[in-house]
């Protein structure tokens, strides 16, 4: 039972991750140098700082568990960690 639940969680995670990869250039054009929150393959919040995105998520009363928050680098910038 629990493993079915975990598989569902992975499915949601993988869908969000695939959306992020497949739409990366579009996302970069629209939200470059910003943080974005993704839920069910939709951008539900974006802002220049992580805290601002988090505030917007709380305002919309969205559950953190189903969300992905990523930073989208600006076009022409490469991030080295």
């Amino acid at each position: 039972m629990e493993s079915q639940q975990v598989l569902r969680e992975f499915k949601t995670l993988e869908a969000g991750s695939a959306f992020l990869s497949n739409k990366f250039l579009d996302l970069q054009n629209r939200y470059g140098d910003q943080f974005i929150a993704i839920k069910e393959s939709k951008v539900v919040a974006h802002a220049p700082s992580f805290d601002q995105v988090k505030d917007k998520i709380h305002e919309q009363k969205l559950g953190i568990k189903e969300l992905i928050i990523e930073f989208i680098p600006a076009k022409g910038k490469i991030i080295l960690y």
């Binding site: 598989l7 992975f10 990869s21 700082s49 990523e70 680098p73 991030i79 960690y81």
Partner: protein
Amino acid sequence: MRFNLELIKTPESERVRLNLISRQPHSYGNIIAVVDTGSPKTVISARDASLLKISVDKSAKSSPLIGFGRGTIPARQISQFKFLIKSADNQIKSLEMPTDIVDIIALNTLGRDHVIQAYQIPTIIGLDFLRVNKLKLVIDFEGDSAYLEDITPDSLNQALN
């Protein structure tokens, strides 16, 4: 057993990512991590630590992280952080390992630019993840695939049988 990685190609860069689920008590949730063989350590990012509300109050201080964004970033270590990963054939593998977590309470006392930049950095899968969990990393740009392979004796025996 194979665990597929996402091989991300953009005009400016390539990345290899691993999807994980945290099963740390009280901190269940999703993590999209970047595989970075230049990092000796696996580090849970500031934004994942914040989103998953990972408590590090009682955890030992770890060495500050250098070369990880601007300046140094304070970190703590959880001795047995619990992760789940999913194999290509939908098996779930549970992993536990010492893991550094960005100390967001200490981080948030630093300058605003420093903090904003630190939150841009994702969770990093370092070389320790491969060593501790006995995983082999394969990246094949020509074949457009990347994966981790379980090389524990049990897994190898299963593959032979």
